[in-house]
């Protein structure tokens, strides 16, 4: 599975999938793409780390800590992965 290399909506699906695993109760499949992870979904730093790990496993893209501020929503997450896709 390497959805990121498509540079397509599959990337967003990968993000939603990862989010669903990390925080099932937020209903990741239904979340608005621009909903803020922290403010709207109540994710915390542990969730952010889990998301980074899940996205790394799913796409091969390593998101360094300094870039965490860039991934605040499903949309920005997908954008980041497309920009840094390495597969």
């Amino acid at each position: 599975m390497s959805p990121a290399k498509e540079g397509s909506p599959d990337v967003e699906a990968a993000v939603r999938h990862a989010l669903a695993d990390i925080a099932p109760e937020v209903g990741a499949e239904m979340v608005e793409a621009d909903a803020d992870f922290h403010d709207d979904l109540g994710l915390d730093s542990m969730d952010a780390l889990n998301l980074a790990i899940a996205l790394h496993e799913a796409t091969g893209v390593d998101i360094p800590e300094r870039d965490y501020p860039q991934i605040t929503s499903i949309a920005t997450c997908a954008e980041y992965l497309r920009a840094h896709g390495t597969s």
């Binding site: 099932p24 109760e25 239904m30 979904l41 109540g42 915390d44 730093s45 542990m46 980074a52 998101i63």
Partner: protein, 480 residues
Amino acid sequence: MGEFVMPSLGADMDAGTVTRWLVHVGDAVHRGDIVAVVDTDKADVEVEIFEDGVVEELLVPEGTGVSVGTPLARIGAPGSAPGGTPPPEVPSAGVPSAAPTEAEPARPEPVARREPLTPVVPEAAVPVEPPPTQWRAPRAPASVSPVVRRHAADLGVDLATITGTGKSGGITRADVDRAAGVARAPAVAPTTERRSRVSPRARKVAAQRAVDVTTLSGSGPHGAVTGTDVEAASAGKPAPSGLAPPATAAPSARPARTDKAAGMRAAIARAMARSKREIPHYYLSTDIDFSSARSFLDERNEARPVTERLLPAVLLVKATALATRAVPELNGFWIDDELRVSEPVHVGVAISLRAGGLVAPAIHDADAKTLEELMAALRDLVNRARASSLRASEMSDPTITVTNLGDQGVDAVYGVIYPPQVALVGFGAVKERPWAVDGMVGAHPIVTATLAADHRASDGARGARLLNTIDRLLQEPEKL
């Protein structure tokens, strides 16, 4: 077969009240099934059964208080004719017996394996409500959440007859409804509901009112669930689109999430009220320069893969655990008018649950763990807390609690001690603040550490030593 007896759910429990049966006569039960809710005066505890069989007779009606060891139900052999069958032995209802039956080897703490809903934190039990969608139950033989189990009990559905469609074959609420023949609107079928959308406001309203948005069909654009839909659902009224909230889909079912959220609230209320009633708190705070710790984390995390990164919380927990060695009277319990210092340092970590409420399960022997081990333990604990699969020992063992509200952005937290613990250490957000070093003011990352401590067990000077020790330890993070 055997009898299901009132278990001991804590060292100081000698009686309990069956507040609710979750099984009926004739139901097949399986080892690990939650069969009853028992009120221990501290918390409602969901109690498992430890054998397979069929419920032949409920010996104790709901609302009845009995002593530990009293037979509560008679359990027949698996596959035996349900109900109507005369019990092979004379019922011993009302005759308290502390001895386990021959079919049930002694098991002092029946809830002690995977009980998210049966915390036995002394006097501070905080039940966790697992919404059906968040249940993972990685170790459960049958993947069925307590909520689904209760729903099945409400509808009189035997879970053993259901093939689950959830993750790893888990049985979902929808599976139960199908088995019960409860008609559901097509729009709320699981395959459809996950495609719909939920507005942020709807999500917030749902969280506030404990509404499961996955059961709603939306009236917004592209079927999005709106705040109005959620409000309508929580009010028990059909939304314009004709959504079917759980309560209307299954008229006999109680709104389990709401009840449980209320139960969690009540448990927190009891524990915290007791704390403020009984514990003479004193409070101290100190600002700690987090520069060294921040640099240590940045350098370390930069060089490691994402799976090995450390969060600041790990340093805070480790520093706190080590600091208790310098001030052991802050690590332990106040029981029977005396301090009982704990040799092991089991740090309770306050974890907020997105559905509401919080739990503070223990990382055992936190002082002896490496940072890597602590990080793994913390990650595991948070994930399991939110998946509602905590163990009773984790709920009952903390000897001191750490609460870190840094993610919430506040400067400081002045905590309420979990009785019978005697101290709670709080950390706020790490923020850049003006900080003077050698007469020069610069911007430094600063975290405010606070201590709430029991003045019966320690005095301010000792409490100050704990915070000062935490500060000192955080200046040399590489030694943690």
